[in-house]
């Protein structure tokens, strides 16, 4: 028991006790403890195992800079894997489990791996498991690797939420500098937000324990917070700024306690003051990874904040002038401290699981704890993320903020200003947007490079087991760039993302290559600064909120009629009606549609109106087909193309009058068609002479299709002459329904006589019940989308995007007249005459027939040609159904030179099975159009 709790020390509440378990053993802590501080207070030294060699690991740092303490934690039935022990607050009843260990961190059977470490250098996996095939080894290696275990249980209500906010000034870091900056800014009238990642503000003040402006730290911090709040400033505790993005967007993660997802704050700040402080830097020496070796600042933090004394017999190894003051603080707390100047010898830690001493300058010094500091590293992550430059400060051997990014300024320790008064002066100036005074720091550090001639192993990345030898090996193998080094050795890829190992690694590489650290450079700093759960980004972007369904106004009626609802192109639509077998229901719907009539809710059908004096010219330009010759009251089917000549959408155009058209685009393409139309309108036309108006959701559409359709419409009394002569196929009439306008289009997507009746939304239910009551006696059936898909396929009508793909041009579907004859320009016109467009090998739409009782072809199955040495795909099945009307399977396909193969047989290949199909016309029902024109 070398580390222990000191009564009266720290910010924790000594009067209350919290019980917790670690690796099956019972321990006690206090409110205010983290898992790491509570374990240390109980003298637990081995809290984890390293990733690769399973070496014992102890706590190294006291906050986000600790690379070792990773735990699976359960509480009240909630289990969260991979919690950072140094930043997770202790709660009563927690069950804490070390990760990547069996059975415990104290005794881990895989520790034997360490014996093989000479055979497991950097790049070992890349070199060894390549032959014959990595995939042979992968499962076993994956099983060996990894940290925490996911719980089988789903954590209920683990849901983040997201808050957007803006402010004049965001202050990142609530230490002395941050508090001063926030209060100065708030008092000057700026709206201020201060974020601090601990749940108590004050930063490093508690570490040094001394008075600030003649007050104890706690008292001074309270005063600053009062000043900030009374001036209207806001303070967010337990909140970490983890990313800076363009235009000063800063992402904050607010810790809401164990078992709850953190909350994401998205802050737009006019200016940002970085008072993020500095962290301790490890020293690279032999066996520096042993439990009991800690950072100096970490030990002071454990003492000042958590009342934990890291050890009794301490060797304090350091290369800077903070060593003596630090030692004195520990001595005051009762430790025996011996200060060693790390530049004066080659240290080596002695001991295995239990630290026994340190070898230094040819003597052996007994100790239970080694505190090591290689200087201080300013926390410049956010600065670099924002695009700020770094300067190398030779005096303190550290990168400090250089040329600033827009609207960002740094103050305090992050600038290398480690003296309190000076740091606060910087912060005050930064807050008020005044030039930041820079003074010489009293901090002094001696340059120190790792001793490459020692015999023992020296750790650079504690968690990932990257040693000095690994870096030497990588450099020898010419992974000379620091970015390559990182990926080859996994240096800095542990869960602390190099907060501890990065500088030590750079130092090592620089000394190996005989370069300076600034010449070696740093790896890229990327968000997130601390690990955050993916849930943080998801937040409310889930289910209906992420992808809201479009709902039909008739949804209650469909539900009442027993509809099975499904999503089609963003709309929730009836797939079929009835509760029995879907197959049978769909079949009956198809038969009723062919024999009597179908009633279909077609409301999602696009209804984009084009109005204005240039409307005709405009529609003629955006459509492949000639629209200028369309007479008012008439309808034409056509395509919209992309400029590459590819079919973008199909639909009918209705000309209501001289200057008014309706484009009925596909239900699922309304938004994209509308956007394309707006694009052409505003970029290329006179936007004052033509207007695009999407009225899709202003009108409901009910389709009545089938031999009885006319009779049903007669009963509705729409005020329109329905006789075939007066109202032929592909024409449009305006009538009335319930004293309101009704638009009636005689168009068909089934191949039977069909009318589409559109009425204002308010009349939808009325029309629906009127159609049903007039249709039911005539045998009409409610028909869902699935039956409609079969009806149209029987007729050879396509769905764009299903029966066409990214190469399909109109002439591939047999509609080649505009391509040959249309004289006026239209979108995609020139693209229809390229070498590709003129190729004889284009895939064309065909129908496929197989045996009457065969199983239907699989959609997506390839049509193949066996003439060469290997079978070649010459197309694929795009739609495939059993046709109730025809009593046999039908299919549509895109087939190379398809029209020339009519009557021939082609092999259809799917998952190793080959069948034969006969190529026929896509239209297999009423090819003469007698029913359509009835």
């Amino acid at each position: 028991m070398s580390s222990s709790r000191l009564p009266g020390y720290g910010l924790i509440d000594h009067s209350k006790t919290l019980a917790f378990q670690f690796d099956g053993k019972q321990f006690q802590g206090h409110p205010g403890d983290t898992l790491a501080s509570a374990l240390l207070a109980n003298g637990v030294r081995i809290i984890a195992r390293s990733f690769k060699y399973h070496r014992p690991r102890g706590v190294w740092g006291a906050w986000f800079d600790d690379p070792n303490a990773i735990f699976d934690v359960s509480l009240n039935g909630i289990k969260i894997p991979n919690c950072a022990g140094a930043t997770t607050c202790l709660r009563d009843g927690m069950r804490v489990q070390s990760v990547n260990t069996f059975p415990t961190a104290q005794f881990d059977v895989k520790a034997i791996l360490d014996w093989f470490s000479p055979f497991l250098p950097a790049g070992f996996y890349y070199k060894t498991f390549m032959w014959p095939n990595w995939h042979l080894f992968e499962p076993t290696i994956r099983k060996m690797a990894g940290l925490g275990k996911l719980s089988e249980e789903i954590t209920e209500n683990y849901q983040s939420d997201q808050i957007h906010q803006n402010c004049d000034l965001l202050v990142v870091g609530g230490g002395a500098a941050g508090l001063v900056a926030a209060s100065a800014a708030a008092q000057s009238g700026q709206s201020v937000l201060l974020v601090e990642d601990h749940n108590i503000a004050g930063g490093g003040l508690y570490r040094r324990g001394r008075e600030i402006e003649n007050q104890p730290p706690g008292h001074w911090v309270e005063q600053q917070i009062d000043a900030i709040k009374s001036a209207g400033g806001q303070l967010l505790l337990a909140t970490t700024a983890f990313g800076v993005y363009d235009h000063n967007l800063v992402a904050l993660a607010e810790d809401r306690g164990f078992g709850r997802a953190p909350r994401l704050w998205k802050i737009r700040a006019k200016r940002i003051v970085m008072t993020t402080g500095a962290i301790d830097r490890p020293l690279t020496f032999v066996n520096n990874d042993r439990p009991g070796v800690m950072s100096v600042e970490g030990a002071l933090e454990f003492l000042g904040r958590y009342g934990v004394l890291a050890g009794r017999q301490i060797a304090l190894l350091s290369n800077n002038n903070r060593a003596e003051p630090s030692a004195n603080l520990l001595r005051e707390a009762g430790a025996n401290v011996r200060v060693l100047d790390a530049t004066q010898g080659s240290p080596a830690a002695i001991g295995g699981k239990i630290l026994r001493g340190i070898e230094f300058a040819a003597q052996t010094i007994a100790c239970d704890t080694i505190l090591a500091s290689g200087g201080l590293t300013p926390v410049v992550h956010l600065w670099r993320q924002a695009g700020g430059k770094l300067d190398w400060d030779e005096k303190i051997s550290a990168f400090i903020p250089g040329k600033p990014p827009n609207n960002m300024v740094a103050a305090g320790s992050v600038n290398g200003t480690f003296d309190l008064e000076e740091a606060m002066a910087e912060a005050r100036a930064a807050a008020l947007d005044l030039p930041v005074p820079r003074t010489d720091s009293s901090f002094q550090v001696k340059t120190l490079s790792p001793d490459r001639h020692s015999t023992g192993r020296q750790w650079i990345d504690f968690q990932h087991d990257v040693t000095l030898k690994d870096i030497e090996l990588a450099a020898r193998e010419n992974y000379a760039s620091v970015e390559h080094l990182k990926r080859y050795t996994t240096l800095g890829m542990a869960s602390d993302q190099g907060k501890t190992s990065n500088m030590a690694g750079l130092d090592a590489l620089a000394s190996i290559q005989n370069r300076s650290i600034p010449e070696v450079g740093t790896t890229t700093f990327r968000p997130p600064f601390i690990p955050v759960p993916l849930e943080l980004y998801r937040g409310a972007h889930r289910q209906q909120l992420l992808h809201p369904l479009k709902r039909l106004i008739l949804e209650p009626e469909h539900r009442a009629a027993g509809a099975a609802l499904g999503e089609y192109g963003g709309w929730l639509r009836p797939a079929w009606y009835g509760t029995g077998s879907s197959h049978e229901a769909i079949k009956q719907e198809v038969l009723a549609a062919r024999n009597n009539a179908a009633i279909i809710d077609a409301s999602p059908l696009g209804k984009i109106e084009i109005l204005g004096p240039d409307a005709e010219k405009f529609v003629n330009f955006v459509f492949y087909n000639t629209i200028s010759t369309l007479k008012p009251g008439h309808i034409r089917y056509g395509f919209m193309l992309s400029e590459r000549g590819i079919i973008f959408d199909d639909g009918v155009v209705t000309r209501i009058d001289e200057n008014r058209f309706i484009i009925s685009c596909s239900s699922s393409h309304v938004d994209s068609v509308n956007r394309a139309l707006e694009g052409w309108r505003q970029d290329g036309n006179d936007p004052d002479s033509v207007f695009v108006h999407d009225t899709t959701q202003n009108w409901s559409t009910i389709t009545i299709s089938g031999p009885q359709a006319r009779k049903i419409l007669t009963v509705l009394d729409l005020g329109v002459d329905l006789s075939p002569e007066a109202f032929p196929h592909m024409s449009f009439r305006q009538g009335n329904f319930a004293s309101d306008p009704a638009r009636i289009s005689r168009v068909s997507f089934t191949g039977d006589l069909s009318y589409e009746i559109s009425v204002p939304l308010s009349n939808t239910s009325l029309l629906w019940s009127a159609v049903i009551s007039s249709g039911k006696p005539l045998g009409a059936a409610l028909v869902g989308v699935e039956a409609l898909a079969i009806l149209r396929a029987e007729k050879g009508y396509i769905f764009v995007g299903k029966d066409t793909d990214g190469e399909t041009m109109p002439h591939d579907l047999g509609l080649s007249i505009p391509r040959m004859r249309k004289k006026t320009p239209f979108v995609g016109d020139r693209a229809l005459h390229t070498l590709t467009a003129n190729s004889e090998n284009r895939r064309q739409l065909v129908g496929l027939l197989i045996g009457k009782d065969d199983e239907i072809l699989t959609t997506g199955a390839h049509l193949i040609e066996n003439s060469g040495t290997r079978p070649r795909s010459i197309g694929y099945v795009t739609s495939s159904y059993h046709s109730p009307t025809l009593g046999h399977p039908i299919a549509l396909a895109l087939l190379e030179k398809g029209t020339t193969l009519t009557g021939k047989t082609v092999p259809v290949w799917n998952q190793g099975e080959t069948r034969q199909a006969k190529v026929v016309s896509p239209c297999l029902f009423d090819a003469e159009g007698g029913r359509l024109n009835a």
Binding site: E643, N674, G684, P825, R830
Partner: protein
């Protein structure tokens, strides 16, 4: 995450915008002959300038297409202007 100024709505989050092409690109007049090269250049060749670039963007909620001048190196938005011809006074 950047913010772009829509000439119609003002500063909005970049997710509300779609890129719609390079500004100043003229569609070849297809009422006459257009060579394969000219058409291909129209479809496929972009200046893709380093530094100051002018592009057409659309603000999806209001459907306004507009020209945005950006610095493609610094990501700085230099300004936006309406696409429609300004009234001649």
């Amino acid at each position: 995450m950047q913010q772009f100024p829509c000439p119609f709505c003002g500063l909005r989050d970049e997710r509300e915008f779609h890129f719609a092409g390079e500004a100043g690109k003229m569609r070849p007049d297809t009422s006459g002959e257009v060579t394969q090269t000219d058409w291909s250049r129209y479809l496929n060749s972009y200046k893709n300038r380093e530094g100051k670039a002018s592009e057409v963007w659309v603000h999806l909620p209001c459907q306004e297409y507009f020209i945005m001048h950006r610095d493609t190196l610094s990501m700085k938005v230099l300004g936006t202007e309406q696409l429609r011809r300004q009234e001649e006074i």
